[in-house]
Structure formats: C-alpha cells, structure tokens
Symmetry: C2
Subunit: 618 residues, 2 copies
Amino acid sequence: QMPRGNLETIHHRALVLAQLRKWLDGLRFRDAFECMRKLRINLNLIYDHNPTVFLDNIEIFLKQIDSINHINLFLTELKEEDTTTTMYPCPSHSAVGKEGKKVDVVCDALRSTMETLDPQKYCLCILTSHVRKTTPELETALQKVHELRVNPPGGTSSVSAEEALKYLLFLVNVNELYEHSLGTYDFDLVLMVAEKSQKDPKEYLPFLNMLKTLEPNYQRYTIDKHLKRYRKALHHLSKCGEEHFTEMLNLVKDQRLYSDALELYPSGSQQYKTLSVAYAEYLVEQQQAEQAGLLLWRCGESTRALQAFVSCTSWRNALAVAAQIPLPPQQLALLARDLAEKLLEARRHTEAALCLEQYAKDCEEAISALIQGAAWEEALRLIYLYNRQDIIETDLKPALLEAHSNQTSFLESQKALFIRHKNRLSVVRELKAKASLELFGEDGPDCADAELYSEASSVMTGSHLGSKYSRSNSRISSRSSKNRRKAEGKKHSLKEGSPFEDIALLNALTQIITVVDKMREEVHSLLKALVLFQFDDAASALQRDYSDLLLLMDKSIPDIWSENLQPGQNTLTGPNSTVNSIVASFQQQKPAVPQQDTEALAPPKMRNSVKWKLNILK
Amino acid sequence: QMPRGNLETIHHRALVLAQLRKWLDGLRFRDAFECMRKLRINLNLIYDHNPTVFLDNIEIFLKQIDSINHINLFLTELKEEDTTTTMYPCPSHSAVGKEGKKVDVVCDALRSTMETLDPQKYCLCILTSHVRKTTPELETALQKVHELRVNPPGGTSSVSAEEALKYLLFLVNVNELYEHSLGTYDFDLVLMVAEKSQKDPKEYLPFLNMLKTLEPNYQRYTIDKHLKRYRKALHHLSKCGEEHFTEMLNLVKDQRLYSDALELYPSGSQQYKTLSVAYAEYLVEQQQAEQAGLLLWRCGESTRALQAFVSCTSWRNALAVAAQIPLPPQQLALLARDLAEKLLEARRHTEAALCLEQYAKDCEEAISALIQGAAWEEALRLIYLYNRQDIIETDLKPALLEAHSNQTSFLESQKALFIRHKNRLSVVRELKAKASLELFGEDGPDCADAELYSEASSVMTGSHLGSKYSRSNSRISSRSSKNRRKAEGKKHSLKEGSPFEDIALLNALTQIITVVDKMREEVHSLLKALVLFQFDDAASALQRDYSDLLLLMDKSIPDIWSENLQPGQNTLTGPNSTVNSIVASFQQQKPAVPQQDTEALAPPKMRNSVKWKLNILK
C-alpha cells in the first residue's frame, strides 16, 4: 500500500488540464502559471492554448506573473512545438494552422510590452527575449548592456551593466558572446565582455590593439572577416578605396560573393568590369557560359562575351556580339560555320541553316542542313530563293525517298513491338487474375498456368530497333536512341515473370504510343513533300501505314488501360468473400507498384486533334 | 397428360448437341446433317464446331452429303454468327477469336473443292457459292451461265444454261440480276436475263440497241454510268479520246473522282493539268488550300499555286513559288508584307519577321515583329546585324519592362486563383466525406455543413483575368483568352455546390498548373534579356515570384491529387461496416464522374527538368 503522503500529490492530468484551460480562458495567468510550475506542465501551453487571447493580454500576463525570474522561466521554456497537439491534445480543440514563428512572435510581443511598461524593471527579461529568438540577437542584447554602462539608470529597481552582463553570460556561451561583441565594432563592449570571460588578455589584447590602429572601414572589414561575416566584410572593404581592390577581388573569388560585389559599384566603373570578368570566369567553370556571356556583354567585354556564347552554342547572342564588335566578314563567316557545326551536332538543323545562310553566305550548305533535318519546306524555300533547283534532283529527292523508307520501317517495327507487348500484357494479366482467385480460395478453372509464366513468347525490348535507323537524314535516329536508353533503364522489369512485368509492359506501351503519336507533324510534312514531287504512291503507302498504326493504338488504349479504371465486380462479393477478400481485391486492382512507375497506370493521351492526313492521298 | 406420340419427338437439346459434336469430331457429316435438318438445328454448327477440321475435310463433307439441294441448303443457311457462342454454347469450348469473314471463307473453300471434283455436277452449288458471298459475285455467276449457253456441257448430270439461269433468278431479284448482266457488257447475257425476266422488251430493247451503236469504250462508259459505277465509267471514258474530255471533267467534278482521274493521265499532259486545277478548286472550297497549292505547283500552275498558298498562309511554299515564277522584287516585297501580316495575326512573330527581313527587306518591321512576339534574342540579333542599336532604347527596353510587368501580374493572378481553388477543394472534400459518413449511418461530428455549401467564399473563374492583359506584347494574352474560353465551357460545374464541383476544381487547378508550368521558357528568355540591360532588380523579383509559384504548385500536387491514389482506410472497416459500405466507400473514392472529366483525376506533370532560373539572380 502506498504511503498516504504520496497519494495527495497525484493529480489526474486530464483534470488538471481542464482546470488550467478554465483559468487561461478566464485570463487567470497567475493561477495557471503556479499550478503548471508545481506540476511540471510545459509552460508553452499558456500561449498554445489560445495564441490570440494571450497576445491580446500580454500586459495582464506580465502584471499577474510579476516576477522577473518567472518571466525569464517562461521565455526560456518557449519552443516552436504546439503543445496542444503534441503533449496536451484537447478533444474539442480544432488544430488551426498557426503560421509564423511562435517563439519569435512571443519574444517580440513580450519585449515590446515590457519596454512600454518599465524597461528598467524588466531589463533582464528584455535581454532574455533577445537571446531566445530563433536567431539570437546577441548584438542588440550587448548593445543594451553597453548602454547601461554608459548611462547607468537611476531607479532603485534598476539593474547594473555588471549584473546584466553576468546574466547574459549565464544564458550564452562566453566565446560566442565575445565574438558578437566584436561584431558591434565597439571596443569598450569587447573589453567589458573579455574581462568577464576567462580569456587570457595576452590573447585578445594584441588583436584589439592592432584593430584600433586601422582605418575605420578597414577595421570593420578585418573584424567581419575574423567573424566570417563575409558579406559585411565585403561591404566595408569596398569603402576602403582603390588600393584595397585586389584584396576585395580575392575575397569575392574566395567567398563567391560576385553578385553582392557587383551591387557595390556603378555599372560603368572599371571595378564593375573587373568583377564581371571574374564572375564570368567562375560561371563558365560552373557550366553557365550563357549567363557569363550576358555579364561580359553588358559590361562591354564583347570579345570575352563572344567566347562565352560560342562555348555554349548560344548562337543568336554570339552573332549579335560579333556584329557589334564588329568582326571582319571573313571571321564572321568562320564563326558562323563553327556555330552551325555545333548546332548540327545538336540536331538543330534549321538554326544551323540560318547561320550558314545569313552569316557564312553559303546557301548550299544551308540547304543541305535543312534537308538533313527533314525541314523540307524550308529547304525548298531556300532552293528557290537562291535559284538552286539543281539541288532538288541531286539531294532533295533522294533524301525524301530515304526518309520515306526510314519512316516506313520505323513504323513497322514499332507496330510489331506494340502488338507483342500488348499480347504479352493480356497473358500476364490473365495469370495474375488466376493467381489472385486461387489466393482467395476460389476455384479457378484448373489449368497449368505456372508454365505459362515462362512461355516462349520472347519480349523484345526497344534496344533491337534503334540500330537500323542510324542515318542522320531524319529525326528518327535521335528519337530511337533515346528510346533505347529509356528501355535499357527498365529492362530488368520487362523480363518475363518479373513481379512488375505488367507495369513494365504498360510503360513500354506508353512509350511506343508517345513516340509514334509525336510523329504526326513530321509525317505530315514528309507527305506534302512527297506529293509535291509526284511520289504519290509512296506517300499513300506511308499515310496508310501511319493511319493504321494510330488507329490500332487508339483502339487498344481502352483495352490496355481499362483495368485501372473499371473494377471487375463479378468476383468481388458473394457468400465466400470476407471483408479481407473484398478489400484485397480492390487493392489488387491497383497493384502496389514502385512510386516512379505509377504514371504507367494513366493511359497516354493521343493528340488526335493534330490533323496530319492529306485528303488527296488514298 | 400429353399424347404418347408427341413425347417421342421431344429431344433434349443438350443430348442432341453432345451427339452432334461426337459425329462432327468423327467426321460423320452425313449423320450430323440429317439429324440437324430433322431437328431444325442451325447448320452453321457444322462449320462452327471446329472450323479447321471442316476446312481440312471439305471433300469428305461433299461426298457424304452428296446432294445438290442439301449443299445449297447449307450454303444458304451460312451466316457470320458463331453458333457455338450464341445459339449452342458449349461448356468446355474456349472461344478462339476467328478472324476473317466466315461466310466468304466457307463459300470459297467449298467452291474450289467442287470445281476440282466435278464442276458440272456441282454447277448450281457453285452458283450459290458466288451469290452467297458477302458481296455477291453476280457477274461471275452470270458469266458461268453464259458459258453453259455458249458451250453446253455434254455430261448427263450436267445442267443447262436455262436451268442455271432459272435457279439464279430464284436466288436473286430479277432487276438486280439484269443490272449485273449489263455490267458484264455482254449483250447475249443481257438478253438472256431480260427474256427470263418479266421486263417489257419495249423498255429494254431500245436502250440495248442504242448501246450497240456506240464505240466500245464509250459503250462501256455509258453502261457503267447507268449502273452508277462511276470509277469504272471514268476509266472507260478516259479511253474515248480527247473529244470526250469535257464530259469526263464533268463526271470527275460531279462524282469528286479527282484522284482516280489524275491516275489516268501522265503527269506532264494537258489533261493532268486541267484535272489538277479542277481538283485544286474543289480542295480550296474544302478548306484544303495548302494541298491545292501543292497540286497546282507540281503541274506547273505556279500563279494559281501562289494564290492557294497565300490563302492558307503557307508562307514558305508561297515564297518558294513566288521566287520560282519569278515575281518582280516590288511584288515579292508586297507579298511578303501580306504574309507577315497574316502571320502576326496568328501570333507567329518569328516567321513574320523572317518574311519582312528576307523578302520585304524591311529590318525595322522585322525587329518590331520580334519584339512584339517576345523573341528577345532574335530581335537583338537583327538589331546588331542591321546596326540598328537605336531600336534598343526606343522599343526593346520599354517592351522588356512591359513584358516584365505583364508576367508579374499574370503570375500574381494565377497564384490567387490557384490558392482559392485549392482551399475550396478541401472544403468540398470535407463536406463530401462527412456526407458519405452520414450516409453509412456513422455519426460524423455534428456541425452544420449544409450552410457551408453556400459559403460566401466566391470562386472566381479564369474569365476575370484575361481582360487585364490584352496588350499584344507578350504571349500572355493569347494564353489567357484560351483559358477564358475553356473556363467558360465548364463554368456551370465550378458553381458552388454543384455535384461535380470537386472535379471542376481539379480541372481548373490542372489548367492553372499547366499554363504556369508552360511559362518556363518564356520567363527564362525574359530574365536573360532583363539581365543584359541591367534590369537586375526586376529580373530578380520575377524569378522569385515565378519560383515561389512553381514551388507552391509542386508542393500542392500531392495534397490535391492524393485522394485518388491512396484510399484513406481508417473509416473503411470496423464493427459497423457492411459489405455494401466497404464497397461503397471504395467506389466513393473514385467519384462517378462524367467520362470527359476523368483526366482531372490524374495529377498534371510539371516539367521540373526544364531549367529556367538564372544563377546570377538572387
């Protein structure tokens, strides 16, 4: 049996909390506070219980508590956590999302009230409120201590600078306080803190004395740098005049403070230019050559800007700068050829053609680039603009026919792959359905399905296909190599019998549909060019093939993606089903797939509104 | 009680079918056939039971049946329906998808076997097999009758032409047969059929006599036209020589047989050109002016082609044709301006600029078009190419600042709308959840939610926004007017309390996300231009705004679209739940929405891989 005395101190928490809530609602902060202290209930509740009421009645709170120590206790116990949802949840309490930083809000509110009421009396509490902020305002606190020292207050209840500093040192680590006192650039304050600390004067005095000999801005810069406050350091150093510019540049480079540094100088100045060049060098290293180019250009460093633009194939800017310099025609042409080459590598044929035509004045190369990029209409435009109809027979027509044959075989291979994946998918689904039926103890039709999993119908991945179409003439090759890479990334799961084979198949099908659907514009433009040169049969055949494939895909989508949308409800309920089986069968409709694969569950959208067919073809 | 005699004729269908299947499996077609005739079982079952076996054993079938009438009976009873799945389903029978046209397959297979075995004996059956095809082959059947008449067979079992024709008339309507006999262009045959028919010789003889006087090709054309076989008519008319070309052109126009007609003439001929022009006129009427242009161009009608291309703003082709004609420089410039105007109306600024620059030789207008289209880099390129830096101050910079302010306010409005919709959505969902809890007899927290439905938080539709940004300087205006149209189309369901308000909100949110996400490239290019001209503050602000909004959307997507992916399972099962409540709560997670709205259930994808931020901005 428990000794009687202990029983008396046992309080039922729910009862206590109910009482506290009543008190707080009645603004009886003192009773609440006393009780909470005694029963070790977290003081945050005073605020959390009803933040608005508390903030509206801070003066009443301060007057009721009326003890520096207690107020300090409250301030030090503050934390961001909302105790009404964590420690002391209340049944009828609806958690309203409180925004902003609670600790900062309470500290600021209390301090502002205390400063109105009696700054001297609440001196220590005010210091606490500075120190307790999310980012402690140590400089401000130190500044207040310093003021106490310079103008000691007269009142009896007032605190001396000595006491205040002592209290601060109790709240904050001494070294931290010393660093921050340095940050005020106020040597009296620094000395005051240093004296109170256990620091060896031989350590800090020489440094302080050295600082005192420096020019004010450079002094502040030195302190900032010592405190690793580089932005401030930069600011002060920039005021130290021309002779310190190299030091400044090094600081900027070391700390990567380029943007900050640029703001300190007028945009026309030499320093601005030097800083921009340094920044640009850094940006080029960071693979941001275009931005480097912009910075260099705007500060007048045209040649360097040109280099930067060329290095990232920002060809419009490069050519603009080149024209501004201005580059001699010969060099401009070379530059244009250089850019065109890079653009061709990036398969940006039309842009390459523009460089070649307008700047290198080489219409033949330009037309060739356009033909290579399957930009048939644009190629024709240039052919007639420069009266080079000979190119039609020598280059354009052969390219058209090759593009036609590439497109045809690409469509054929995609169609075969699509059908194979689609058929395999229905096999996999049937197997899964049977497996799940057996799981729930229902008798599925007895057939040997285990072997079906390793059935011989091999699933080809996209990787077999790309290699055939590596000619650069049409855009197919870049597309299929992308496919290949994608397909390889997921190859593991396309393997027959893998647990997510259905998902992998859905992904593969989505990919094929997307790729084929994207060809509408390209096929349309090819068809028009074929018709123009009387290749009507080829055009008709391509139109038929492509149209058939699109139709096949469009019609297959409901079949392939139906399961995710319409639960098959026939086997769901019944005399043999249990709650678990029902829930499980719902969940089984949405297979638990790895997160990155969920997109496969949504059917791809085909752009049927894009009209690509020619009416004049059969 | 039933009289005894009747009972004997009652057969249990299942037993009968089982017996039939056994017979058919044993290739005892005769027994099966007799039984089926007697018990009026559909003869299709003979084939449907096992198509492959039947087709492999046609000879056995024919020999066992060995009756012309019975074979004809079988042929006439054929239909596409698979009786094993419709009339006589078999429990152990797995429905294998049979492809192709069953009736045609059986007819052709039987006929080919009969023709090998004894064409004379099976003569009538062969005729039946022609007539029974999906598209009856009446001409072929008539031809066979005609052969019988010309070369009467010698055998005793053989059928006379007379008999055969009589049989045909029994199978086919007499007028139909007459028309088809005409279609063989064989007047003997026509007369033979006509004599058998009840037709009045005064009706058909003059027509036949008239036909006989015509030149053979024109004769056939006249017959084809009479039979409305316009493609054949065209073919024959084309052989009648130059003097009938006008008649042919009229036929082509009347029957829109342009493609067919073009195939009948060499592409260099005058007729080909005339037909192309006619076709082009028709295509222009059908809003297919570009295809019309291609046809005209390729047959050498450059001026007409130019008109067609201009009318549909197919500007590259138009300029190519114009250069080929060649148009005098003055006119070419006018043409280019005309095209540029149309392109500007269609907001295709870059293309308009190209026309103005290269063909109208008006760099100032070209640059202005580019600035209007927010193609800053391209505008700069031309400014420096033509050494018109003055335009930077007069036009480019003001346009940049205006674009900046437009983008800023557009983002602001989209953000406000997004937040409003998002908040309303969570209100609607809460209400729906409560409503469904109450539906299942569970006690939801008692609060008055009915009023909440008509809560005062008004939901703004996109339509308020567009009007502010109607300046043409940036692409915003076209975008928001599109939004407006879309939003108006669905306004009814965004109304508070409408049954699919949540779906409407999801749609609206998807739209906002898509529109804002699409701005990445545009904002990126604007930021670069702003930086180049030292508008760093404006650029930083825009980058911050846009980045914040994208982040807000990205973070909101899981909240907004969570319900569709993760069923909240806490209220699903429990002592009070029933099978119906569980099923219903699953289904309720996927609201039964109108079909066209289901896409709203999938979260929109944000293109977070598109890098648009500038590192040099804060």
